[in-house]
Symmetry: D2
Subunit: 354 residues, 4 copies
Amino acid sequence: MPFGSDNQTGCSPQVLQALIEANVGHSHGYGQDDWTARAVAALRDVFETDLEAYFVATGTAANGLALASLVQPWQQVLCHAQSHIATDESTAPEGFTGGARVQAIACDEPKLTAHALRTHLARAGRDHPHNPQPGAVSIAQATESGLVYSPDEVAALAECARANAMALHMDGARFANAVAAQGCSPAQLSWRAGVDILTLGASKNGCWAAEAILVFRKERVAGLEHRRKRSGHLLAKGRLLGAQMLGWLRDGHWLELARHANRQATQLARRLDEVPGVSLVWPVQANELFLLMPRALALRLQAGGAEFYEWYASALPAGLNLRADQMFVRLVCSFATTDEQIEAFIGQAVQRPA
Amino acid sequence: MPFGSDNQTGCSPQVLQALIEANVGHSHGYGQDDWTARAVAALRDVFETDLEAYFVATGTAANGLALASLVQPWQQVLCHAQSHIATDESTAPEGFTGGARVQAIACDEPKLTAHALRTHLARAGRDHPHNPQPGAVSIAQATESGLVYSPDEVAALAECARANAMALHMDGARFANAVAAQGCSPAQLSWRAGVDILTLGASKNGCWAAEAILVFRKERVAGLEHRRKRSGHLLAKGRLLGAQMLGWLRDGHWLELARHANRQATQLARRLDEVPGVSLVWPVQANELFLLMPRALALRLQAGGAEFYEWYASALPAGLNLRADQMFVRLVCSFATTDEQIEAFIGQAVQRPA
Amino acid sequence: MPFGSDNQTGCSPQVLQALIEANVGHSHGYGQDDWTARAVAALRDVFETDLEAYFVATGTAANGLALASLVQPWQQVLCHAQSHIATDESTAPEGFTGGARVQAIACDEPKLTAHALRTHLARAGRDHPHNPQPGAVSIAQATESGLVYSPDEVAALAECARANAMALHMDGARFANAVAAQGCSPAQLSWRAGVDILTLGASKNGCWAAEAILVFRKERVAGLEHRRKRSGHLLAKGRLLGAQMLGWLRDGHWLELARHANRQATQLARRLDEVPGVSLVWPVQANELFLLMPRALALRLQAGGAEFYEWYASALPAGLNLRADQMFVRLVCSFATTDEQIEAFIGQAVQRPA
Amino acid sequence: MPFGSDNQTGCSPQVLQALIEANVGHSHGYGQDDWTARAVAALRDVFETDLEAYFVATGTAANGLALASLVQPWQQVLCHAQSHIATDESTAPEGFTGGARVQAIACDEPKLTAHALRTHLARAGRDHPHNPQPGAVSIAQATESGLVYSPDEVAALAECARANAMALHMDGARFANAVAAQGCSPAQLSWRAGVDILTLGASKNGCWAAEAILVFRKERVAGLEHRRKRSGHLLAKGRLLGAQMLGWLRDGHWLELARHANRQATQLARRLDEVPGVSLVWPVQANELFLLMPRALALRLQAGGAEFYEWYASALPAGLNLRADQMFVRLVCSFATTDEQIEAFIGQAVQRPA
């Protein structure tokens, strides 16, 4: 019962097949291969725009390179306090940007709002050159709370960013889930809403290790190729990334995988209704569930083979106090989550301890 | 009426005299001179311990080098959200440390408390290597709110830091004011309370440009000399710093200057009692005043030649709402603040506008 | 006729098979999986020692992380002027190490010698903290000239490094080829000869993207996990790397692949004897050939579909002058180079132009 | 007999007087003061152009900030192997630039020549993004061999730099000596010859600690203020730097000081003609002498109180072999070098040992 993360699987059969096919013949190295070129073309098609795409193997690298393209070392990246770049990527943002500031925004809500952003900016110092200067806003789609930003919410943030001479970065580690959840187009949820650079995650949703840095404003691209190389993220055999991306995008496979993961999460949430003492902290909008659960139950489930993580108390909404006999946990469904896994989990959860 | 900052003066006559005397003869460069050696000896005497001292010309450099000696690039510096290193030194902490995280602690009080620190640590993730790791706690003495930490408060923070494998840094830009305010010994307020490295500021309190990085735990020193050199902070003519420090420390001059600045701040606060609509945000403990003031009065005073800064709204206590007709301002007294300047300020403040 | 680089292929069938097998089931992420554990065990077996191993996807990352583990930001990495880290990894060494110096050693020979190293150290300044301090020696095995270091040569360099308080790093992008060429054991050519960290390359010799940082002196390991994470090189689905490594090492596959590549290079060199005007710049010891070739012939071959690169003139031995009608080129054989490709190349080369 | 360096003195009486005068009254901090403004105006006057000037306290900082303004982290700074930035500033260039490469140019001559530069560029790889990219050329005026570049030589280097899309930086730690030596105008030797940024050193030639970064191409300025702040080089009491600069520039004082230093060096060289076994390695063009000297004599002089440094053997011209009984030494004259010091030195040198 692997609900620990959507990175506990291998790749989808279709992606594997693309890799097997791509293992034939020779090609130029360092991304100058045919698979990479076709994957970029596929992304332009899916996003309906003439974007630039750079492939790397991890989300941390994709985010770091994107941010380094958007801010100077004396600037800030403004983000939600619970965003992945603030909590789970070590100090990669500082490393990639040459020492920019990661500035968490105090925010009562699980998503960053244009209101919170404006309030922060109004109250913070802007003295030049003393205060770290606002450089970019970064939001995660879906968020670290499993919620999604609507195109309008993104546009409101983009407008606020633009009005303050900031760029907008979207950490799309679960962008596919967010698109699948909202039924909008990839373009609507990214560049049409004002996103400058999107890091499109494929690793969590069907690939092995493939992320795309999608640059919608080409004037931001300067240096990205160099930064990718000097950070060690230019793969010699670029086809490994290009082929994964191709297999993932082909025939809407990526959205099909995301829809499955979302459906399973919704189904799991529905079934958890039956389990006494379990409550959702936030509504399930994509493929993640955040729960308060009796601690004894959580420990019993884990002992029984269920995999999931206790989550950071700092992520809990203000005012929601965790009782000592409760555990705050995260469950994640993936493209590979089966009905049987859900049923097994629920079966154990509702079981009376002997 | 220069209440803008304690850096708006030159140096004290005694410091100037020391510089004039030090301008004679030749010596080795790069801090291998007699004045530097004597200044280090004087610091050992004043702090009653066998410390190591490194002189630089700015507080930002002193703080940056101290933090770089205490944390690894994948660690965090935990500090109050309003601390100088978080708000007023650009992204110098990131630059000096090679990209460590500056982590502001949510704190309802104007000082960092051991309680707030423990709460933060209990709620934050400590996953290795994903979450930025706690590396050091940094506090300012006096704080950016003009308050002082007592030796006991410092000791409580040091204990919490130690219990979590963190070092304790004290940004002592106004350490002299804090010592003068509390009547304790420099040792009591630093290493005896558990401070690992103190950056002792002299520039704001009588020197032109002289700060000392005082290392109390020598095992932390590795690399400090190299870091100072490669950041461009090793002065060729080291006597410039050594002589200032010598003149500043001689015969308790440094504390005399600080006592004067503190007294003038207290006096200014007392006289402001008479001015309608003006209220202190925090008690005056050192040489700074933080006030709410009718905006019209503030503008009239500035137009009349009074110098002071509107302060960041983000620094205001939670719950204290700034009215549109108010201004949140900071006034600073220095070693050079005269009774006449205070009287002139008050005179203008109580004056009825024509 | 792909002689451009040993990165122009996919992966070997055995490696692909390992990947296909590893795509089943779920596991913990971030290298906490069974494939990774087994690959580390396999490396300990192959190297006959209790090493620590860290997997990443590129050689530039492996070298950068290794060097960052060995030098401080105020130190130098001493290397041959033609080494890959000096010429072909952008400024990755500076980026990973936080700004250490890459110091090319003037060297008349295509390999770094202990004599050249000692001469350099004797003539260079060692003033502390002014001169960049020697921190590590880095050598490539095989070298960028296609030559191999013998165990004795490595040991002589290690001794010189040790005597000057430096560590020894081996960039083993083609370590398999060097072992295969010399018939010695992996241990003999690495830790037994005094290497502190070896970056073992698998990507060029049968994998898709897999490199291992092998740490032989564990006291050097501090921080490597953190550095890998903050540079974005910790793969979420670690099995991708672990499985490649497993497949590559199984049953001596890695050395079989390297022996094939070396054999083909030797064979190609032998056949080129017949081609007028072509001469080897250095003897063929591993899988690379460096040639002087009539420029007209080189262009004709490239036009006919042969892939190879013109090489940097700066790499030529002192005294060897390149005539205007010559081209200095590099040909590389890989695990996948066929006899037919060699024959086709020779066939075109000896063909009289019409 | 202080011939160790031109940083072994204090400041000139005129500079000290300017500091004493500047110690009166209050002003804005952080370079927003009147002395700084007047010093910038004086520099515009002296250089006959509308430059931007940024003051810092050390030459290493000035060079580092200048280079950071000129190169990206994936670029190279090309310089003579014996330049100060390559040998004597630790790894400050890497630190300030965020990890650019310092690339020493193999050069038989003690100055960098356009020919050597072109040869280097022709032979080096330019593959994008693999090879570190040429970003700037940096030359020292006077050089680390005590020689000066003529305006024509500078112009030839500037032309070569421009033709290769590189900027030209001049490390003018001894720019005053170079101007004094050649009798040309500051403009002729800097921007008119194609220099983009000059770091004008005053510390070695009469000030205590004052260097100016002079930006002649304003489009290069972006970020310099921020970089100065985040590296800790923005002095709170900016008047300290502004006043030194003002006193130094007033009435041609700076060139008078440099002429004196140069004259004393020439005089010392002339007198050394008399000393058997002593020979100049390079002609004396500014204020430094590089000598081969019997080792016994050198040791006797040092024992007798003469201060000078043994110099790096790596700086010796190719082909000049240092005999075991010789020492390669540097003697430096300063604005404060007296005839008596020279006579005392010569007196000891010609004295027969007992």
